[in-house]
């Protein structure tokens, strides 16, 4: 029992109540999947323009956000590293997505990550805090994780995990946009979209490393992005996931976007010269029917 649950219990006991664990029900029934997954790949040195044209290839942000929606944009802000070091999502990519979400009529855009290094240092040195502050828009919030917001969720279709604590705002969002940065990872080889969603779960994440690929797929049964945008503007090729040396970074000026989280990861894998099935989470998610991983079955639009 962690401190928070303990407290919770103490309060309940002192209030003379019995302990009930609140559960959050998430529908895991999938909407009919289209036979081909569409995927856009953009290349440009102007990251604002890059995001814009890549989204345009998927009919623009309006295809993913309706006016009045509560939107969560989840970049990787896990490390106390600068944008050049390629450990976090590039601030300009995040900024462009936030702007498009606002244009599409989002009522609220929340940006956050459960960081690995000290939270304030990550938000600050990733450049994301200052960039978003610069927007001066009240609808945009970059909040630090509030421990009280993790709620237990049953993973009905999970194979390796049956329950997880998930951040409430993600579950309640109308649109969840996952924005990982594409990079190397010692254990799982790469960290892409499915791995990025680990930033919305509570508890001891280190315990997930056993059978990580399956667990990430299990998580993906309930945390289902409306859109995945993989930031491969800079790719960390070695010493991931946090890097630190610019020698390990390759500038690629690329982003990949798709409504299909598995397809996005699968395609990004090829940028590293690997095959989609070499990434355990991609394979496991494909097996669970969460998306397409065969590159030939994808409808790829290059812009």
């Amino acid at each position: 029992m962690d401190r928070r649950t303990f407290l919770h219990h103490v309060f309940l006991w002192t209030a003379g109540l019995t302990v009930t664990i609140p559960r959050f029900r998430v529908s895991t029934a999938f909407a009919g999947q289209s036979s081909t997954s569409r995927l856009a790949v953009g290349k440009d040195i102007d990251y604002g323009l890059l995001v814009e044209k890549t989204l345009a290839a998927l009919n623009g942000m309006n295809a993913f956000i309706r006016p009045g929606d509560k939107v969560v944009i989840k970049p990787n802000i896990g490390w106390d590293r600068s944008p050049e070091q390629a450990a976090n999502t590039h601030p300009l990519v995040v900024k462009a997505l936030v702007e498009h979400a606002l244009e599409a009529g989002a009522a609220k855009v929340q940006v956050f990550d459960r960081t690995c290094n000290e939270q304030r240092r990550c938000y600050k040195n990733s450049g994301i805090e200052d960039t978003l502050k610069g927007l001066k828009n009240k609808k945009v919030s970059l909040e630090h994780i509030d421990q009280r917001k993790f709620v237990p969720v049953d993973l009905e279709r999970g194979k390796s995990l049956s329950r997880m604590e998930i951040y409430r705002d993600v579950l309640e969002a109308d649109s969840y946009i996952n924005v990982p940065v594409a990079k190397h990872h010692g254990l799982s080889r790469l960290t892409l979209g499915l791995k990025n969603s680990m930033g919305v779960i509570g508890g001891n994440r280190g315990k997930l490393h056993f059978n990580l690929g399956q667990k990430l797929a299990d998580l993906a049964t309930v945390v289902r992005p409306t859109l995945t945008v993989i930031d491969a503007t800079r790719m960390l090729l070695r010493n991931g996931p946090q890097g630190g040396s610019l020698n390990d970074v390759q500038i690629s000026n690329t982003v990949i976007a798709s409504a299909d989280p598995v397809a996005a990861d699968a395609y990004a894998t090829t940028l590293f010269g690997l095959k989609p099935e070499e990434i355990a989470s991609t394979k496991a998610a494909y097996d669970l029917g969460l998306g397409e991983m065969t590159i030939d079955n994808l409808q790829i639009i290059e812009v």
Partner: protein
């Protein structure tokens, strides 16, 4: 100060000054934290640099002039001029004691200071012990005591209470209540609450020591300042030989003892003479004297100073004790073999120098964003209590952080530049292969490798076959540490997902600050 009634009583000005100083202190305390820039703007450490007790003890212990502590001369000069005003007008601990006094009033206030010689004995003992190699001044220095108590116990407890309360309202109270409580919580977080919940060893001990200072009020007013405070004793000595003089009552006072009865320091004797070694110039007597007899001025009185003149024997005894006790420190087992888990903060000086300079103020533990700096109990000997150590299971040292070196008031932890910090070895990680999952049970893990922050990772891995729990051969990545790259930041030990002790642990082997702990190198004959 003139001999007349003032429209605003002089003691009001003193209270104002006390309030301003206390608020300033608390402001600096709360700002002793990372706030978005690598370089700190404010820190409480400034008050330690004005503390002549710390300056004297530290320089005696280090046997050198510590430039950082020279501002203490300002307080020395001011005290020669104005007496022990600091205790009455500025000291945050004194102010807090005055504030709690109404709650802890004793029923039969003793007019005479209970142990009038004790504080001099303590002062003599601390200074002589410091000189002979047993640095203990931080235990009783009022600022150290206060900052440490607030850091290690009071602030975390307040934050915990607030978090618990607002977690309860958030999860259980109706939405209507949350309309009020949530903005309130936001406000408190933005203002007085610390950014994150910290956890410390020795919470109860720190709390008990601080609480005792206040509880002693039950015995007599300003008990700590009158009987124990070594800084007060030192400032009192300066005051005695300084210029400020208080002319108390005279024969014409008759049976009136108003001044004597209200003096919080017991500085006024039966003849109503004022002992400047005790008087903190609170000026209550001056305000309340019905005949307006009391005057403070810069004239030296013709009569000899009243008040306590230290008994030579007690004083010498304390000095001798301070000189003899350190003899025993060198014959402890500790003098030969140090505790391998005594890992000092990045930038800490060599152990002996470090302990001479460290004043146990707790500033580094307050500022440490990794919550890894923890007070030592007895691992470093009796003189090491409350000095900082790195507890890598509880927290870890942030790769890009240099805050502890910035707040250390004496330079016991020197300020490292970031590039130097990146290679400054505070210790060394070792795997416990009997527990490490990929080794012991063939289970993939490598959380340590993932978090290792050095640009060329100090944890690397081999992909090999291992035996799992069922006796099967499985392919797994097994991590290992490269000694030359590891800096001992401890994030690996902190994040290791095993319950209880981690399967990778830091020791102080190879630490940069102690050449004698250098790790064996293969090329140097260890092959």
């Amino acid at each position: 100060m003139a001999n007349r009634k003032h429209i605003i009583p002089l003691s009001r000005w003193r209270q104002l000054s006390q309030a301003v100083c206390l608020l300033l202190f608390l402001f600096l305390f709360s700002k002793t934290d990372y706030t978005g820039s690598d370089q700190l703007e404010y820190a409480v450490n400034i008050i330690f640099r004005f503390d002549p007790l710390i300056a004297t003890a530290v320089m005696l212990a280090a046997k050198s002039v510590v430039l950082l502590l020279l501002p203490a001369l300002i307080l020395v000069a001011l005290s020669l001029l104005l007496g022990r005003f600091f205790c009455g007008w500025a000291c945050p601990l004194g102010t807090l004691i005055d504030l709690v006094h109404p709650l802890l009033k004793s029923h039969n206030p003793a007019l005479d200071t209970r142990f009038p010689r004790l504080r001099y004995g303590i002062l003599a003992f601390l200074l002589s012990a410091a000189f002979f190699g047993l640095p203990l001044v931080g235990y009783l220095d009022p600022f150290s005591l206060l900052v440490r108590g607030l850091t290690l116990a009071v602030e975390p407890a307040i934050n915990h209470a607030a978090t618990s309360f607002f977690t309860f309202t958030y999860q259980k109270a109706p939405a209507l209540v949350n309309l009020v409580t949530e903005p309130l919580y936001d406000f408190l977080q933005a203002t007085i609450l610390p950014f994150s919940q910290k956890h410390y060893h020795l919470v109860y001990l720190s709390m008990a020591i601080l609480a005792t200072v206040f509880l002693l009020e039950l015995n007599q007013r300003r008990f700590f300042c009158r009987n124990l405070c070594p800084l007060g004793a030192l400032l009192g000595l300066l005051a005695r030989f300084g210029l400020m003089n208080g002319a108390g009552g005279n024969d014409a006072c008759g049976r009136c003892t108003t001044c004597r009865n209200i003096c919080r320091m017991g500085a006024i004797d039966e003849q109503r003479h004022i002992d400047m070694a005790a008087c903190t110039l609170c000026l209550e007597c001056l305000d309340k004297c019905p005949r307006s007899t009391i005057i403070f001025n810069w004239k030296k009185p013709l009569t000899l100073q009243t008040g306590y003149s230290g008994s030579r024997r007690f004083f010498l005894g304390s000095l001798t004790a301070g000189a003899l006790l350190p003899l025993f420190t060198n014959v402890r087992g500790l003098a030969k073999v140090t505790n391998q888990r005594l890992i000092r903060p990045p930038g800490a000086l060599g152990e002996k120098e470090f302990l001479s300079l460290c004043v146990r103020c707790g500033e580094c533990m307050k500022v440490c964003i990794g919550n890894t700096l923890q007070p030592v109990f007895l691992e470093a000997g009796i003189e090491g209590m409350f000095s900082p150590k790195v507890d890598s299971r509880l927290g870890y040292c942030e790769f890009n952080c240099t805050l502890c070196g910035q707040v250390c008031p004496t330079g016991a932890i020197r300020e490292l530049q970031l590039t130097e910090k990146h290679t400054f070895k505070i210790g060394q990680a070792f795997f416990d292969k009997n527990r490490c999952l990929p080794y012991a049970r063939g289970i993939p893990c490598m959380v340590c490798e993932e978090h290792c922050p050095t640009a060329d990772k100090a944890i690397k891995f081999n992909e090999t076959m291992a035996t799992n729990d069922r006796g099967q051969q499985v392919q797994v990545k097994q991590p290992f540490v490269v000694a030359e790259l590891c800096i001992g930041c401890g994030i690996c030990e902190h994040k290791c997902p095993l319950p209880g002790a981690a399967a990778i642990r830091i020791t102080n082997a190879g630490e940069t600050r102690s050449p004698d702990k250098a790790l064996p190198v293969a090329s140097a004959g260890y092959g």
